[in-house]
C-alpha cells in the first residue's frame, strides 16, 4: 500500500522535540522508579513480617494489627491466609519452604505436620530465652509442639474434642452424663431412642483423629517409636486397635449412624444435631459459639469428657490447635521471635478465643476476663481438663504417610471389621518402606 510521504511527515513533530520528550520521559520514569524503590527499601518503614495463617473469622489478622501497633514501629505483621484443609496448608507451605522462599516469616502450623517441618529444618527451634517469656502451656500443647526434645513452635491455641449432647435426649435415654460414658453406651442410647451420634468419618485427617483417639483411649498407640522415621514401629494391630475397630464397626452398622457417615466432617454434623434426631456429637471447642444464635439448641446443649473406648479406662480426647513457627529462611528472625511473644501472649490467646471459639494453649490465656464472661465456667473447666488428658497424634515426620495409609484401609467406616487393624498395619509398613503405593 502506498502511503503519501506528506501524511507521515506532516503529523510528526520536529525530530529534536521528539528526542527531548523521550529524554524527559525517561528521566521521569527513572525518578518515579527511584522513589518507589526507596519506599520499598529499609528506610521506607519497619520491616514487614509475613505470617501465613490458617483460615479463621479474622482473629489472627486482628492479632497481627494489635502486635504491629504494640511493636512501636519495630515491625509490621502482614497475614496471608492458607487453604482451609490442614493437608493443603502443609502442601502449600512445604513446597515454598523446600524452594527456600524467604518471604515466609511466621507460620500457623497444625500439630499434624509440625514434626515433619521440624525434621526438614523448615522451622527454627524456639530459643531458650524466648521460651522463658512464653506463657506456660498445657502439657498436651507442649508435647504437640516438641520434636527431638526441642520446642519447635510456640503453642498458640489448643483445640480439643468433647462429647457434646442434647440434655433432653440424654435424659430421655436415661444416661447419667455426670459420669464418664462409653462409645457403646451412647451408640446404644442413640439407636434405641431415634437419635444419632455425629463423628468425623470422611476420608481425611479428621477421621484419623477419631481413630487415634479411640486407640489411645484403649491404652494403645498407633506408632510407638515415632523418632525411628520410616522404621517406626506401627502398633495398629493390637488389642487397642481392635477395640477401636469394634467401636467404628458398631456405629457404622447402627441406626445411630448419620446417613452421610462416609463423608461426614466437623461441619456436616452440626445441622443434624440441631434437629429432633440430634443426640450426641464429638467435636471441637467451637461448638458452643456455633450454636450461640440458636437459643433452643444452646439451652439444651450439654458437654462432658470425650467417650471412653473401654469402660473404666479414661479417654484420651483428640488434640488439635496451632503453634507459631518461625521459618528458617526468614530474614528477620529476631523480630519474628518478638512477634511470636506478642502473638502468643495470654491476652491475645484469650481475645482470640473470644473472637473465634478456639481456646488458649495456656492457663494464663483462660484467665482472660472477657473469655470468662463469654463461656460458662464449667465449659472452660472441661476444655482445660480435656487438653490436659488429650492424646496427640504421633509426632513423626512421616505422619502424612501413616495418616494416608490409615485413611485408605479404614475408609469407609462401614468396611471396618476386626481384620482391619491387621491389614492396616501391614499396609502402613509397606508404604513406609516404599513397597506399596499410597
Amino acid at each position: 500500500m502506498h502511503i503519501p510521504r506528506r501524511s507521515r511527515g506532516a503529523a510528526a513533530p520536529p525530530r529534536r522535540t521528539s528526542r527531548r520528550r523521550r529524554v524527559t520521559g525517561s528521566l521521569a520514569v527513572l525518578a518515579t522508579a527511584a522513589g518507589l524503590l526507596t519506599a520499598c527499601g529499609s528506610n521506607g518503614g519497619p520491616p514487614t513480617l509475613v505470617w501465613y495463617t490458617n483460615p479463621d473469622p479474622g482473629g489472627q489478622a486482628a492479632i497481627a494489627a494489635r502486635c504491629t501497633a504494640a511493636s512501636n514501629g519495630a515491625y509490621k505483621i502482614e497475614t496471608q491466609v492458607l487453604p482451609q484443609d490442614a493437608s493443603q496448608q502443609r502442601v502449600q507451605l512445604a513446597r515454598r519452604l523446600a524452594a527456600g522462599d524467604s518471604s515466609i516469616d511466621l507460620m500457623s502450623l497444625d500439630p499434624a505436620f509440625t514434626a515433619e517441618f521440624a525434621a526438614a529444618k523448615y522451622v527454627v527451634p524456639v530459643p531458650q530465652d524466648v521460651q522463658q517469656k512464653l506463657p506456660e502451656a498445657f502439657k498436651g500443647a507442649v508435647t504437640a509442639s516438641t520434636w527431638d526434645n526441642q520446642l519447635v513452635v510456640a503453642p498458640f491455641w489448643s483445640n480439643v474434642q468433647l462429647l457434646w449432647y442434647r440434655k433432653s435426649f440424654a435424659q430421655k435415654a436415661g444416661l447419667d452424663m455426670s459420669q464418664p460414658v462409653t462409645w457403646d453406651q451412647i451408640i446404644d442410647a442413640a439407636a434405641k431412642n431415634g437419635g444419632t451420634v455425629g463423628v468425623q468419618a470422611n476420608k481425611y485427617e479428621g477421621y484419623v483423629v477419631w481413630i487415634n483417639a479411640l486407640v489411645m483411649g484403649a491404652g494403645g498407640n498407633l506408632v510407638t517409636d515415632p523418632n525411628a522415621g520410616v522404621h517406626a514401629k506401627i502398633d495398629v494391630n493390637s488389642t487397642a486397635g481392635k477395640d477401636a475397630a469394634d467401636v467404628i464397626d458398631k456405629l457404622a452398622h447402627s441406626k445411630a449412624a448419620e446417613p452421610d457417615l462416609s463423608v461426614s466432617n466437623e461441619g456436616t454434623v452440626l445441622a443434624p444435631f440441631a434437629t429432633d434426631k440430634g443426640a450426641f456429637q464429638v467435636n471441637w471447642t467451637f461448638i458452643y459459639s456455633n450454636y450461640a444464635t440458636d437459643k433452643a439448641t444452646l439451652n439444651d446443649l450439654g458437654w462432658t469428657q470425650y467417650p471412653e473406648t473401654v469402660q473404666g479406662q479414661p479417654s484420651r480426647p483428640p488434640y488439635g490447635g496451632i503453634g507459631i513457627g518461625v521459618s528458617s529462611t526468614s530474614k528477620h528472625q529476631d523480630l519474628d521471635w518478638q512477634a511470636v511473644e506478642c502473638i502468643t501472649s495470654p491476652d491475645n490467646q484469650g481475645q482470640y478465643a473470644v473472637d473465634t471459639g478456639n481456646m488458649p494453649s495456656s492457663q494464663a490465656g483462660y484467665a482472660y476476663d472477657k473469655l470468662k464472661k463469654a463461656y460458662p465456667a464449667s465449659l472452660l473447666q472441661q476444655f482445660q481438663q480435656s487438653v490436659t488428658d488429650a492424646g496427640p497424634r504421633p509426632l513423626t515426620p512421616y505422619w502424612s504417610d501413616i495418616s494416608g495409609a490409615i485413611q485408605s484401609t479404614w475408609h469407609p467406616a462401614s468396611s471396618v471389621s476386626s481384620s482391619t487393624p491387621a491389614s492396616s498395619q501391614t499396609f502402613i509398613q509397606q508404604v513406609l518402606e516404599g513397597k506399596k503405593l499410597l
Binding site: V91, A119, L261, V263, P412, G434, K436, L438
Partner: protein, 317 residues
C-alpha cells in the same frame, strides 16, 4: 442404498520425494529459520520437564527428606506396576473415559444437529448449549457435588420417584454411585465441546449429497447413517480422540467431589497425590511417565485403529 462419501480432489504430486526448485528450497530454509526460535523454546519448556521427570523417576526422593535420596533404578516402576492400586485406578480411568466419551458422542451429536438445523433463535440455542463448557471445571464439580449432596442436594428430592434413587441416597457413600456422580458432572461439562467439534464436521457435509439421497427416497435414518455420518467420519474421530485423551486425564471433578474416596481415584489423581500431597517426587515422577506413555498409547491406538486423518479433519486433504 450404498454409503456415499465425498472423495478428496486429486493432486498432481507424484509418488516419492518431489524435486524442489531453487526458490522452494530457499523458502523452505527461510521457513526453518523463522520457526527455529519457537521450536527451541518449545523444546526447552516441554522437553526439560519431561527429561527431569524421567530422571527423578529413578530415585527414591521425598521433598521433605532430601537427605534420604537414593538411586533405585527402575524400582519405582516395579512397585507401581506390581501394585493393585495402580491397576484399580487405571481401570477407573478407562471406565470413566469409555462411558463419558460414548455418552458425550451421542448427546453431543444430537446437540450438533440441533445447532446445525435450528432456524429459530439459533444464537440463543447455541449459547445455551455451550454455557457448561464455559464454566470452570472446579466450579461445575462443586455445583454437582452440592446437587448430589445428601443434605441439601436437589437430585434426591427431584428424582426420588425413580426406583433406584432413595430419598436418603448417599451418592458419595459407595463406589458406583460416586462414579455415576463424577461421570454425570464430566458429561455435563464437556458435551458442548464434543458438539462443537461435531458441528464443524456436520457443516462440511455437502447438502447436495443429502438432498440427492432424499430425492432417491432415502429415509431420515438412511440419510444419517449412509450419507451424513460417513462424510463426517474424520471429524467424529478427531472429537473422540480429543475427548478420550482429555477424559483419560480426568482430575478436577474427582478432586472436588470425592478426593478419591470410595475407590474413585483416577490415574491423574493418584499421580497428584504422590507428587503433591505425599511429596514423593521419585514415585510420582514414575507415575507421570507411565501416565504420559498411556496417553501416547491411547492416541496411537485411536489414530491407527480408526485411521484418523488429522489433515483431512482440518480441511487440508
Amino acid at each position: 442404498m450404498t454409503t456415499t462419501v465425498a472423495t478428496p480432489a486429486q493432486t498432481d504430486t507424484a509418488p516419492g520425494k518431489a524435486h524442489l526448485s531453487d526458490r522452494s528450497a530457499v523458502e523452505n530454509r527461510l521457513g526453518q529459520k523463522l520457526v527455529a526460535p519457537a521450536v527451541i523454546v518449545m523444546v526447552l519448556v516441554t522437553a526439560y520437564p519431561m527429561i527431569q521427570a524421567l530422571y527423578l523417576s529413578l530415585f527414591r526422593y521425598r521433598l521433605t527428606t532430601p537427605d534420604d535420596k537414593g538411586f533405585v533404578g527402575l524400582g519405582n516402576y516395579g512397585v507401581i506396576l506390581g501394585d493393585s492400586l495402580f491397576w484399580k485406578d487405571t481401570l477407573n480411568t478407562v471406565i470413566i473415559m469409555v462411558a463419558t466419551v460414548a455418552i458425550e458422542l451421542v448427546v453431543g451429536f444430537a446437540f450438533a444437529m440441533v445447532m446445525h438445523r435450528i432456524m429459530v433463535a439459533r444464537g440463543l440455542m447455541r449459547t445455551a448449549i455451550l454455557i457448561p463448557y464455559g464454566i470452570v471445571t472446579v466450579v461445575s464439580a462443586f455445583a454437582w457435588q452440592f446437587a448430589f449432596s445428601i443434605n441439601n442436594g436437589f437430585v434426591n428430592s427431584w428424582f426420588h420417584w425413580l426406583p433406584w434413587i432413595a430419598p436418603q441416597q448417599n451418592w458419595f457413600g459407595d463406589h458406583w454411585h460416586a462414579m455415576f456422580a463424577i461421570m454425570a458432572s464430566e458429561i455435563w461439562k464437556t458435551t458442548p465441546f464434543m458438539s462443537l467439534l461435531l458441528l464443524a464436521g456436520l457443516s462440511q457435509v455437502s447438502e447436495d449429497m443429502v438432498e440427492a439421497a432424499q430425492v432417491d427416497g432415502a429415509t431420515w435414518w438412511q440419510r444419517l447413517y449412509k450419507v451424513i455420518l460417513p462424510n463426517m467420519r474424520a471429524a467424529i474421530m478427531v472429537a473422540v480422540l480429543f475427548r478420550a485423551l482429555d477424559a483419560f486425564r480426568i482430575f478436577d471433578n474427582i478432586a472436588i467431589m470425592t478426593a478419591g474416596a470410595q475407590n474413585t481415584e483416577s490415574s491423574s489423581f493418584l499421580t497428584y497425590r504422590q507428587v503433591i500431597q505425599q511429596m514423593q517426587l521419585g514415585m510420582g515422577s514414575a507415575l507421570s511417565v507411565l501416565l504420559f506413555i498411556a496417553v501416547l498409547i491411547i492416541a496411537f491406538v485411536i489414530v491407527k485403529l480408526f485411521k484418523v486423518d488429522l489433515a483431512s479433519a482440518r480441511g487440508e486433504g
